[in-house]
C-alpha cells in the first residue's frame, strides 16, 4: 500500500494545485470579498494538506492495509482490462450503431470473457436482456434509446 499511498497523495496534491491555478483565472468579487475562486481554493488547500499527510505517513511506513498487486498474467486482471476496453467500445458505438445491436454484441462478448462457452445461453440471453430493457425504457417509460442502424425499423 505504501507506493499506492504515495501515488494517491501526489495525485491529490496535483488536483489541488490545478484547482488553485484555475482559481487565479477567476474574477474577484469586490462586494462580497469572496469570489468564485474562494470555495475551490479553500477545498484545494485542504485536499493538498491531507494528501501531504498521506504521503508523509506512507514514507514513514504508516500506511494501513494491503493491496494485491496487479499482474498482467492474472486472469482476473486480464478480464478487467478486456471489460474496460469493451465498455469503452460499447459507449462509443452506442449512438451510431444503436442500443439493440451494440448491447447484444457487448453482452455476448462479455459472457464469453466471463467464461461462458455453451452457445445456447450466449445466443439466447443477450437478445432477451436487450429487448426486455429496450421494451421497458422505450415502450413503457417512453424514454428514447439510440436507434442507430435500426432507426428505420423501430
Amino acid at each position: 500500500m505504501k507506493i499506492a499511498d504515495i501515488v494517491g497523495g501526489l495525485v491529490g496534491i496535483l488536483i489541488g494545485l490545478y484547482a488553485i491555478w484555475e482559481g487565479t483565472k477567476m474574477p474577484t468579487d469586490v462586494v462580497m470579498k469572496i469570489g468564485p475562486s474562494f470555495f475551490p481554493n479553500f477545498l484545494a488547500g485542504f485536499l493538498i494538506l491531507f494528501s501531504v499527510v498521506l504521503v508523509i505517513n506512507a514514507v514513514r511506513g504508516k500506511s494501513k492495509g494491503t493491496v494485491e498487486p496487479m499482474r498482467l498474467a492474472d486472469k482476473g486482471v486480464q478480464r478487467g482490462l478486456i471489460t474496460l476496453a469493451a465498455s469503452l467500445v460499447f459507449c462509443v458505438i452506442l449512438e451510431p450503431v444503436g442500443f439493440i445491436p451494440s448491447s447484444i454484441a457487448f453482452l455476448a462478448f462479455m459472457m464469453v470473457v466471463m467464461g461462458k462457452r455453451k452457445p445456447i445461453p450466449i445466443l439466447i440471453a443477450p437478445p432477451l436482456i436487450t429487448v426486455s430493457v429496450w421494451l421497458v425504457f422505450e415502450k413503457i417509460l417512453n424514454l428514447s434509446m439510440p436507434a442507430g442502424l435500426l432507426a428505420d425499423m423501430l
Binding site: 468579487d29 485536499l47 459507449c91 470473457v113 445461453p121 428514447s144
Partner: protein, 509 residues
C-alpha cells in the same frame, strides 16, 4: 408544525390504490432481489433503478423507491443466511448467527426471523420517521442562508464517521468530492469553473450518471475480476413466520434494536452496517447467554436485521426534514427527489406537504409488502443467489449505461458514468471510501451557495456566520461531531475489526 392526522389518512388512501401498491410491490421485489445478490448494495440498487422512475408521477416513483430501499435492506439477509455471504454490508452481522443456524438445519427458522425482524424494525423506523420529521422541519422552516450553511457544515462533519479504515483517505475523498461539486456555474456570479470549455459541464457533473458510475459500474469492474463460481443453495426453507416462542424470546432485542437502528440511521453518515453491528454488540452484551453468540443465536440475528431495517426510517428523517441525507442510499434518493422536481428539506413541507405524508404512507406500506412478498417468494429469492454472474454482471453494465443515457438522452452522461465507474473502482481498490464523495456532491453546493448568499447579505462581513443562535448551535454540533468522530473513529474501528474477526471465524468454521 403540528402532525396532520387528516392528511395522514388521506395519504394512506392515496397510496392504497392498485397502481401505487403495484409500484411498491415491484420496488420491494426488485429491492429484495438486488439485496440478496452478494456485491449489489442497496445504494447500487436504488441508483440502478432510479432511471425506471423517469417520467412517472412523483407518488408512483417515490413509492417504488421506498420499496426498493426497504426490500434491499432485508434482501441482504438471504445470502447472509444461506451462503454465508452478506448481500449488503448491512447484513454482515447477520452472517454470524444466520449461517450457523442454516448449517444446523434451521435455515427456515433463520429466514423467517430475519424477515420478521426486518419488518418489525422497518415499521418502528417508519413510525418514528412519521412523527419526528414534521417536528424537525418546523424548526428548519426558520432557516436562512446562515443556518443552511451551518447545516451543510454539520452534515459534512460526519465525513469522518464514513471514512472507512483510513481517516486521511476519507477526508481526501470528501474534499475531492467537494471540488467536483464546484464544477460548473458559480452559484452567485454564474462564472463557469473547471468546465474545460465543455457546455455539458456548465451545470456540473450530472448527479444520477455520476452515482451510477461510482456505485454500479465500479462494482462491475470489481466483479469481472473474481472467478465466477456460483454457490448452490441446499437449505430446506419450510417456515414463513417465526414461532411465537421465538418472537417472545427476541422481543426485547427487537424493541431495543429498532430504536438503536432508527437513532443511528438519523445521524447523517451512519448507515445500516454500523446500526447492525452496534445493535448486535449491544444484544450480545445484554444477553443472558452471550456464549451462544457466534453459534447460531436467533436473538443476535433478530437484533442485526431489525436494526438495519429500522435504520432506513431513521435515515429518511434528516433527508425529508433538513434535506441532508442520513446515509448513502438516502443520498441517492435525494437525487431521485430532485428529478421529480422536489427538493427535500423544510420547503418540501411547505410546498408539497401532501407528498411528504404520502412518502410516510408508502414507507409504511413497503414494510408490509416486504413481509408478504418475502414470505411468498422465499423459495424464489433463495434461488436468485444462484443467478449466473457471467450474465448478471454485463447486464448490470448495460442497465447502468441505459440509466445514464435515459435521463437527458445525452451520450455525455454515458461517458460521465464510465469515467466515474473507473474512478470508483480505482478508489475502492486503494481503500478510498466512496460515500464521502456522494455526501460532498450534495452538501458542497448547499454550503457554498448559502455561504455566498450570507456574504451578499452582510456585504462581505464573515461575522454574519455566527450571528444567529441556530447557526451557532449547528456549528458547535459540527465541532463536537468532528471531535467525537475523530476520537470515536478508532474505537468504532477496533470494535468493527473485532466483529469482523468473529465474522471471519464464523465463516472459517
Amino acid at each position: 408544525m403540528e402532525f396532520n392526522w387528516g392528511l395522514m389518512f388521506s395519504s394512506y388512501a392515496a397510496v392504497f390504490t392498485p397502481g401505487i401498491l403495484f409500484m411498491i410491490c415491484v420496488g420491494t421485489t426488485a429491492g429484495i432481489v438486488i439485496g440478496a445478490l452478494p456485491g449489489l448494495t442497496a445504494t447500487m440498487g436504488v441508483a440502478l433503478l432510479v432511471p425506471l422512475t423517469f417520467g412517472r408521477p412523483p407518488l408512483e416513483s417515490l413509492s417504488m423507491l421506498m420499496g426498493i430501499y426497504c426490500g434491499a435492506m432485508y434482501g441482504g439477509a438471504i445470502s447472509a443466511i444461506l451462503i454465508r455471504t452478506p448481500g449488503t454490508p448491512a447484513a454482515a452481522a447477520t452472517v454470524m448467527e444466520g449461517y450457523p443456524m442454516a448449517k444446523r438445519g434451521e435455515a427456515g427458522r433463520a429466514m423467517a426471523m430475519a424477515l420478521f425482524a426486518s419488518f418489525f424494525g422497518g415499521v418502528v423506523g417508519a413510525v418514528i420517521m412519521t412523527f419526528a420529521s414534521p417536528f424537525i422541519s418546523s424548526i428548519a422552516l426558520e432557516f436562512g442562508p446562515v443556518e443552511y450553511f451551518a447545516l451543510a457544515i454539520f452534515g459534512l462533519s460526519v465525513i469522518i464517521s464514513i471514512s472507512g479504515r483510513s481517516l486521511i483517505k476519507g477526508m481526501m475523498a470528501g474534499f475531492f468530492g467537494l471540488l467536483i461539486s464546484a464544477i460548473g456555474f458559480d452559484p452567485i456570479s454564474g462564472f463557469p469553473r473547471f468546465t474545460f470549455g465543455m457546455v455539458e459541464m456548465m451545470e456540473g457533473p450530472p448527479f444520477i450518471p455520476t452515482l451510477i458510475g461510482l456505485f454500479a459500474v465500479s462494482e462491475v469492474f470489481n466483479e469481472v475480476q473474481k472467478s465466477g463460481v456460483t454457490q448452490q443453495v441446499k437449505a430446506k426453507l419450510d417456515q414463513y413466520l417465526p414461532s411465537w416462542q421465538d418472537i417472545k424470546y427476541c422481543f426485547r432485542e427487537l424493541c431495543r434494536s429498532s430504536i438503536i437502528g432508527t437513532v443511528i440511521g438519523a445521524i447523517p453518515g451512519a448507515g445500516g452496517d454500523i446500526a447492525a453491528f452496534i445493535s448486535y454488540g449491544e444484544a450480545k452484551r445484554a444477553s443472558k447467554n452471550p456464549e451462544r453468540y457466534g453459534h447460531g443465536e436467533i436473538e443476535g440475528l433478530a437484533a442485526s436485521e431489525c436494526a438495519n431495517n429500522s435504520c432506513s426510517g431513521g435515515a429518511m428523517i434528516p433527508l425529508l426534514s433538513l434535506g441532508v441525507p442520513g446515509d448513502a442510499v438516502t443520498a441517492v434518493l435525494l437525487g431521485a427527489f430532485v428529478i421529480q422536481g422536489l427538493q427535500p428539506g423544510p420547503m418540501l413541507y411547505k410546498e408539497h406537504i401532501d407528498i411528504v405524508y404520502q412518502i410516510f404512507a408508502s414507507m409504511m406500506l413497503a414494510q408490509f409488502a416486504m413481509q408478504f412478498i418475502g414470505m411468498a417468494g422465499i423459495q424464489l429469492f433463495a434461488r436468485v443467489i444462484m443467478v449466473d454472474r457471467a450474465i448478471l454482471t454485463p447486464a448490470i453494465f448495460v442497465l447502468s449505461v441505459v440509466g445514464a443515457f435515459a435521463m437527458r438522452s445525452n451520450i455525455f452522461d454515458v461517458y460521465t458514468t464510465l469515467a466515474f465507474g473507473i474512478l470508483g473502482y480505482v478508489m475502492t481498490r486503494y481503500d478510498y471510501p466512496l460515500s464521502p464523495i456522494l455526501l460532498a456532491l450534495i452538501l458542497g453546493p448547499m454550503a457554498e451557495a448559502n455561504l455566498r448568499r450570507a456574504m451578499v447579505i452582510s456585504g462581505g462581513d464573515p461575522s454574519i456566520l455566527v450571528s444567529r443562535p441556530i447557526a451557532i448551535g449547528l456549528m458547535v454540533l459540527a465541532v463536537i461531531s468532528l471531535i467525537l468522530s475523530i476520537r470515536g473513529h478508532q474505537k468504532v474501528e477496533a470494535r468493527m475489526a473485532e466483529m469482523e474477526a468473529q465474522f471471519e471465524k464464523a465463516v472459517a468454521d
